[in-house]
Symmetry: C2
Subunit: 210 residues, 2 copies
């Protein structure tokens, strides 16, 4: 099947959104927790959390110009901090429900029934049952002129997870944490590792990592 | 286990890279094909292809400041086009091997033995055996000041895939295409869908998509 630029443009908007949201590849799924200056908590699902760099340790995510996710942005603007929480298979319905357009005075933690917790004096709330929790400080943002989205950059300040999911070389095995991912905007998947390889070098046979 | 900002900073650099590369969540894995003005082809693996917007249809990816991936950048700079190719489980060793630092005069298509193909007069090469192939035109880039990476934005011009992997609502089922993803920099995984949900609304029970 071949879809040209023009045939994509002429699709009904929902069908186009489903197509383009899924076509780029498998995506991460995370719950971002935040808090306003006055103490109102917010929780929202994002499928765009990405690695930016290891030194300094930076993550990024794409923030849409509209929809409920603006609460996250307003809170980060006010308090400078947010949390990134991995989603366990048992949490996917609740995680997806955070994408409904709740008013700002309503905390998604309560309405979807995901318990919040505060760790080590960090101001933003974490999801208690999340297998991997990351505290971030707002670092910078880049406005994408093409569609008014923003790439938000966060500096990792703290990471929480069960020791047993990390290999000796530092690799965190996200199949052991059972972290789920997302296809498009509404399908959640689990991952099974096919193989892990050594660092690839020119002229050297590639081996699996033992 | 709690890792603070300082304990992350003090890790040996490879261990820190393994940790931070894997901690953000499951990632996409794609082969980006490109071609220089003089016709030299290049193929490189990226685990940062992301959805930017559906209308206009835009994808993005993060380009590191160093490493072999500069060939991709130089080619895009010269010819303005590139292809994004999903990775099938049968291709993962070859795909990973493209991350070795080959000289520019060497085409990864040939050295890792992934056949290239040209479709509908598009200038950049596709991976013949890839289950989903996307033609992109360079649209813009944003330099991330924090670590000199670049967010490259591409406009989708053409999409190729087998009709059978798309649902009636437009959703492309990346488990049917068997598209693989990546954890960290070296682990490849396959996806199994747990559930697909309806659009979430306030005060309405969330249902699975039938």
């Amino acid at each position: 099947m071949h879809l040209s630029h023009n045939s994509v443009k002429e699709l009904p908007s929902r069908k186009r959104a489903q197509l383009i949201n899924s076509i780029g590849g498998l995506k991460s799924a995370n719950l971002i927790g935040s808090i306003s200056k006055s103490g109102q908590t917010n929780l929202a699902i994002f499928n765009s959390v990405m690695h930016i760099g290891s030194h300094p340790a930076l993550l990024g995510f794409i923030l849409r110009p509209t929809t409920v996710e603006r609460h996250t942005y307003e809170n980060i603007f006010e308090t400078n901090v947010f949390t990134i929480n991995h989603i366990h298979p048992k949490m996917i319905a609740q995680a997806h429900q955070t994408s409904a357009k709740y008013e700002k005075s309503i905390s998604e933690f309560e309405v979807v029934n995901l318990e919040k917790e505060f760790l080590d004096d960090f101001k933003a709330p974490f999801v208690k049952t999340s297998p991997i929790k990351i505290a971030c400080e707002y670092q910078n943002e880049y406005k994408i002129q093409e569609n008014a989205c923003r790439l938000i950059i966060g500096k990792i300040t703290d990471i929480y997870f069960d020791e047993g999911i990390q290999n000796l070389d530092g690799f965190v095995d996200l199949t052991k944490s059972e972290s789920v991912g997302c296809i498009g905007t509404d399908a959640y998947f689990k991952a099974t590792i096919l193989n892990r390889f050594e660092y690839a070098e020119v002229g050297k046979e590639l081996n699996s990592k033992s």
